[in-house]
Symmetry: D2
Subunit: 268 residues, 4 copies
């Protein structure tokens, strides 16, 4: 996969479990020299055409593991989800697993508990924090270009107080988002990034990007709801960013647990 | 039209003039016993199939008037706009007017200045304030239903503090939006509604509805970006509501002018 | 008291219990023909000079009751709290109750459970929703007067876009706050006001008033931190309003419980 | 002054000019070998006891200069302002200048236009951005300590979802404020800090600090309005920070001018 000759997919999320991904219902029963996988996955990007999909499942002891399932394995069915309004360029997939037989060696060596899955999530969260910056900068630049060119009341929109007030706030948000990701990646490179740090960055940047994109959408007026001005696409996409790899609420509770030493996700 | 046997359309907005609609570029020249109309309109709902379109144009004296143009009149061309992501059920139209000849009688009797157009806008603004309530209530009910049914961490989402906190804010917003429109319509029925009142209601309700819909979108998590859960449609549509019949900024400046006695739209 | 010949006070809150007022630690033991009260109260308005204070305490059966304590009763000590920065005109009091003996008749007839206390709280919450309006209107009027008079860059502040934008939002907030209280009081007069309604109004109005006052404070610039311009006092006072008779969080959870049918105050 | 043996003060602001400080009314007339200063200053910190005050005034050519006025100079009167509710530790002063005679050498050598004054303001703005961090961190720590200790409904406040949600947002804000100031100071040390950068940092940090402090104030409930818990002081002080060295609005317009190339402060 690293040589880009094969395409992989990461199959964690299930239809009934988003924020509480740890509550996996997919089962990997050990039968003789095989694992037999049963369950369902949802939202799995690329899985409809991937050469191999890692399916996260719970084994007979209740431990979570990652299991490699190759394209065409009997009992493994995928269906591309339809009706998505955000991140339409990514094909996401419903997966049904019915008695999928796998050799024992297809269990990922490092994956013996949900903690290992968590390590993957921390890395992807840091990636989404960067992704939010991309949407925010695009939105800021679209808004700036548009308001400098669009004349209303005889002057460019960009010359009005309310527009400048918004542009200034957008630039401040973009700047702090960048500084936060820069620092996070420095810590990541030093092996010091914690999951709470990644969550704080994902939460903060998705929130600010959502604000920036909404302001930009509004500054384009009616043109802001037309695909050709691009901002409408960012406005739709940022909702996916706001939600995936851990919703805003979940990220805040991951940070909250780190701050207070007490978890508040679930009833105690 | 009132008997619904004919369909009409209202042609005010132009490609280069949204917020400053008064700056009409479309011209109605008087030539003998006719008006000759030249110009362009944009965003005109229903105009592609309407039996008659009212085109707002400036006459030789610089006054604004409404001119009835019937379907099929030579020089009158419409093209349905594509790429809209919001209010897709409404077909909006680009109109080109090239030497459209009209009898003098096609000028609306009451329309001698932009003030008359303004009266129409005030009424439609009050309608949009109600429209915002529709989106907000739909969003609130979708979110409430979903969070009562969706189980995470072993309990319905609706039983968690953060969710209840959001639901309470949404309900408060929906309630005040309703009370504001109720009062506005009472005043309207008594002939006491001013344009500043309509603008205040449109501004307030579009803002609050946008908040309510965004919260609801988020509470549905990933499912919130799928058309089948409906909230994604409201999330897209509310952007049109936020912008049309006067953007948020313009409404605030209409209210501001009423409060302070000074206009701040344009350079003075 | 209704004839204003005697001053009363309402002693519910305790040092360790604000939001969970139901967790009363003050005890009313029945000893022969008397109640003996022990405990502590805090934040009790007027109690230092009141002729009679109603002390809420838990009896031997664990039920909550209100007990009339007259000024000068042995074992009843009050101390005016110092260092308050908000609502300084109200003297609030720490009360120590050490073996205060009361005749049985001093227990309020209607008060047999915390539900009865709750009825009082519902009524006071509706009052605080109105109180918030008072602060908001004062702030709006101070800001409007000031910005119309204060000249900067050669023109009144009130003529600038950003200022008008803020004034319009303030007026919208004040208007919806008023409509909400009007409706609440109509329902109250008809005996239809529920505790969730009162909480929604208190929550909504305290939030909006806090926003309005903060905007006004800012619009007065440096003069906004001087007592002589009055807005600084409202800015301090609104914090008390935001918190007392149930914090913002508690109100939202009371509304949330009503919406969802599940309480989220406490661990379950 | 650098050896701290003498105390100086910076006299720019005038009673009628805050945001448009450039509109100085104080005059420095050249009469023979002297300057004669007439005018009034306001909000001048330390001026009542400073050994020397720099008075900014406009000369006969209309240029702005800084003029050293020593304590006790005839015609120079100071009066400490009263009724301040924020930053009470700083004594601010009204200054009246009536025919104050100064030798020509008392004009600061470098100060020949308002640009020179601007350089000072840029530096102090960067300082205020740091100052905002101080208030925000104090508020965060007060809130965290309090909510970990305060028990309601049988558990520490810090264990509840809504509280953790707030704490996480506060920490994110504090973190990005710190990163922004760190970067600003690096650029400042390299001589690359522009006035728009300083304004962006002051604007951003004062806004975020104001939010953090308000959340913390609320999390302390009733105790949050008592001086002994300290948060009430930060809550009052942050208003001064939000306003001084350029209000939020002015900073946003300085940034906006830099972004768009057009000034929107004043009518054009």
């Amino acid at each position: 996969m690293a040589r880009m000759e094969k395409i992989g997919a990461f199959g964690l999320t299930e239809p009934n479990h988003g924020s509480d991904a740890v509550a996996l219902e997919t089962r990997a029963r050990r039968i003789g020299n095989e694992y037999v996988i049963d369950g369902a996955k949802r939202w799995i990007g690329n899985a409809s055409f991937a050469d191999v999909v890692i399916i996260w499942a719970r084994d007979d002891e209740g431990n979570v593991g990652g299991f490699l399932v190759e394209k065409g394995t009997p009992g493994f069915k995928t269906e591309v989800m339809t009706g998505k309004v955000a991140k339409r360029a990514v094909w996401q997939t419903d997966i049904a697993l019915t008695g999928v037989h796998l050799p024992l060696g297809n269990r990922l060596a490092f994956s013996r508990s949900f903690k290992d899955t968590g390590r993957v999530l921390t890395a992807t969260r840091s990636g989404v924090a960067w992704e939010a910056i991309g949407h925010a900068i695009a939105a800021y630049e679209i808004a700036l270009t548009y308001t400098k060119e669009r004349i209303q009341f005889g002057k460019p929109l960009a010359s009005f107080q309310i527009i400048q007030n918004k542009l200034a706030a957008m630039l401040a948000n973009v700047t702090t988002m960048q500084l936060l990701c820069l620092r996070l990646s420095q810590l990541q490179a030093q092996g010091k990034m914690t999951d709470a740090m990644a969550s704080l960055a994902k939460m903060n940047n998705a929130r600010l990007a959502r604000e920036v994109v909404a302001e930009a959408r509004e500054m384009l007026g009616g043109n802001g709801i037309l695909l050709e001005y691009h901002i409408a696409r960012h406005h739709a996409d940022i909702e996916a960013v706001f939600t995936y790899e851990g919703t805003d609420t979940i990220q805040s509770l991951i940070v909250g647990r780190d701050i207070t030493g007490t978890q508040a996700f679930a009833p105690r």
